[in-house]
């Protein structure tokens, strides 16, 4: 039961990029002809954003589950064009006006939809995989980071500066891509997905890849039962089980790639604290495995989940920092992401690096 999509994906995988995707994203429905047109998408997104803001302004309260907790059930989009850090030219400007926000959004969408025939690997748009082909919305924030107030990561500690300089020097001294175990990319190795740790690291508008622009495979599902919340990310099918009964964390010698999560309710907000990470993930932005992640999930409207996260790592940042994004609701289902079971990309990345290294050696002689 192979289908055309998988065949095309196989071809794409051969022309691999460092960040790889093996399957179409779920939940973006059957290929909607309307969604092929950026203009229509921009209009729809603007309206959705307006409706969401109206609901938030009306002090909307979320429905409850049968056992009385706020009901966060559903499928949510983590994609955003908003960068994590405020660009230098926007220093001092935490918020756009509504018109500015829409203009920036339009620019991101158009750039995302555009494809440079000289460099394209394959056109995500054809598979409904550009972010604007999902309910991604404009954002009045100029950066996801809202604390510190300048919208930028706090300064590194001296220890972290040295650590990162040492890492960079070591990476320059050798080519980390020539062996699987030195490939410092858990995602490429299919150990964790893109939403491990904080569920987003912000968009990168103007990036030449949809992955960098807003984040593909950007769906997540929240499941609740009495005493538990479960987060399932489509990316790598990562699942995080969050007990809400106040039990202690695992002992510090027991480390998980997705960390060990504990949750509680503060009013209508689900607060999740995660520790015991094996190693720093890409979304840790330089933090170590000792990083503590605190996430806050609040239903801000019938179709909007407000997601805030704080990263704390005294050995890396002088102070904790926090970011916020709004996740639009999307339709089920979530597809399986069997990353490791067909990781041609990793093999090609490493083989390619080895070939280039051999060529470089040959040139030296």
């Amino acid at each position: 039961m192979r289908n055309r999509v998988l065949a095309l994906l196989a071809i794409a995988a051969v022309l691999c990029a460092p960040v790889l995707f093996a399957q179409a994203p779920s939940g973006t429905k059957a290929f909607d002809a309307k969604a092929v047109d950026p203009e229509t998408a921009i209009k729809a997104a603007a309206e959705a954003a307006k409706a969401a803001n109206a609901a938030a302004a009306a002090n909307w309260t979320p429905p409850r589950t049968a056992w009385g907790d706020p009901d966060l059930h559903g499928y949510w989009l983590t994609a955003t064009y908003t960068p994590l850090q405020r660009p230098a030219e926007l220093a001092g400007k935490p918020f756009y006006t509504e018109e500015e926000a829409l203009a920036v959004f339009k620019k991101s969408v158009e750039s995302d939809a555009e494809v440079d025939p000289r460099t394209v690997h394959y056109d995500w748009k054809e598979y409904g995989m550009d972010a604007w082909q999902s309910p991604v919305r404009p954002n009045r924030r100029t950066s996801l980071i809202f604390d510190p107030e300048n919208g930028r990561l706090p300064p590194l500690t001296a220890e972290a500066q040295k650590r990162q300089a040492d890492n960079r020097a070591a990476a320059r001294a050798r080519n980390p891509q020539v062996g699987v175990q030195t490939l410092a990319n858990w995602y490429t190795r299919c150990i964790t997905g893109n939403n491990a740790g904080p569920m987003t690291r912000g968009g990168n508008p103007g990036s030449d890849s949809a992955a960098g622009a807003a984040g593909v495979t950007a769906e997540a599902q929240i499941f609740q039962t009495p005493g538990y919340a479960v987060l399932i990310m489509q990316s790598n099918s990562d699942a995080r089980i969050i007990p809400l009964d106040g039990r202690p964390h695992l002992p510090s010698n027991v480390r998980n790639w997705l960390g060990d999560s504990r949750g509680r309710w503060e009013g209508n907000t689900l607060v999740v604290e995660t520790t015991n990470f094996v190693a720093p993930g890409t979304n840790f932005l330089g933090g170590t495995s000792g990083t503590k992640l605190i996430e806050r999930f609040t239903l801000a409207g019938p179709n909007t989940l407000q997601y805030q996260f704080t990263l704390e790592d005294p050995s890396t940042w002088a102070r904790p920092w926090s970011a916020e994004t709004l996740m639009p609701r999307i339709d089920p289902p979530l597809y399986e992401f069997a990353c490791h079971e067909q990781n041609y990309g990793l093999m090609n990345v490493v083989k390619g690096a080895q070939t280039r290294e051999a060529e470089a050696e040959a040139k030296k002689k």
Binding site: A10, A173, Q221, E336, E341, Y344, M347
Partner: protein
């Protein structure tokens, strides 16, 4: 309604006690007083919790003696296979003759790891060895716990092995969009039994480490029936006209894990298999400089 249930349940227990002989005996296998499980808010049997099977089916679903494992010169007793009884009703899987030959070939080649960019690469040995998803029903008899999360519209099963996830669509049912490793599950209640129809599994997974296999025409129907507060009966009917002469059935109990603060502890085996899989391709080597 709840009170009626309690009275009926109490009566059933009294009758059951009256029926047992005067001397205390363990209940004979298969005989329990009629059990009515507690309900979820929407009135269905509550299957929430952490469950685990204690059979040796992951090594071999048919009866098997204990035996040395691969590389006994390194692995000693760690790598050995425990002996165990069959979970297959009737004892033996009804293979077609040519399929039985393929099963034997699988068994001989089960340690083969041949990872290439060749679309035929999945003919490379046992899937658990390489940390691939197990498919259904094997996920339920791995020697790892799994957790059930139950809501009216969907039931989620999260398996400690590889953090593999299945969503069972209760209401509405959904059609499988494509094949996958864990298949596509639609469920319904028949009395106090959860019945799950599993389709769209790819043909790469094996039922166990002993080479028992299927094609992508596999169709599995599972039944989960609570028997006591601490265990449920698990049954699965397996149908695959490409491989078997008729449908066949497995069954075994699933036990509730009741330790205080019990939780799944991540088993992400991908890092444990990279050397095995990528060394033969020369990809698992330290940098040259």
């Amino acid at each position: 309604m709840r009170h009626q249930v309690i009275i009926i349940a109490a009566a059933a227990i009294l009758l059951a006690l009256a029926a047992t002989p005067a001397t205390a005996q363990a209940p004979a296998a298969g005989l329990f007083p009629g059990y009515t499980p507690p309900r979820t808010p929407d009135g269905k049997p509550n299957l929430n919790g952490i469950w685990q099977a204690f059979v040796t089916a992951n090594w071999d679903v048919e009866a098997h003696p204990a035996q040395p494992g691969p590389h006994p010169e390194i692995m000693g007793a760690w790598g050995a296979t425990p002996g165990g009884q069959s979970i297959v009703e009737g004892g033996v899987i009804p293979y077609k003759p040519e399929a039985l030959a393929k099963k034997k070939e699988n068994l001989e080649k089960r340690m083969a790891v041949k990872v290439t960019n060749d679309p035929h690469r999945y003919d490379s040995g046992e899937t658990e060895l390489q940390c691939y998803r197990t498919g259904v029903p094997r996920a339920n008899y791995m020697p790892f716990p799994f957790q059930i999360f139950q809501t009216p519209s969907e039931i989620l099963m999260v398996y400690e092995y590889k953090g593999a996830v299945r969503t069972i669509y209760m209401d509405p049912h959904r059609e499988a969009p494509t094949d996958s490793w864990m298949g596509w599950s639609n469920g319904r209640w028949e009395g106090d039994t959860l019945v799950i129809d599993v389709t769209a599994q790819n043909d790469h997974t094996w039922f166990d480490r002993a080479g028992n296999f299927h094609s992508d025409a596999l169709h599995v129907v599972e039944r989960y029936t609570p028997i006591s507060p601490y265990h449920m009966k698990y049954e699965a009917t397996i149908e695959d006209p490409n491989v078997f002469t008729r449908p066949w059935k497995i069954s075994f109990p699933l036990y509730r894990r009741v330790e205080e603060n019990v939780q799944l502890v991540e088993f992400n085996c991908v890092p444990f298999v990279e050397e095995l899989m990528y060394s033969p391709l020369g990809l698992y080597r330290p940098p040259s400089r």
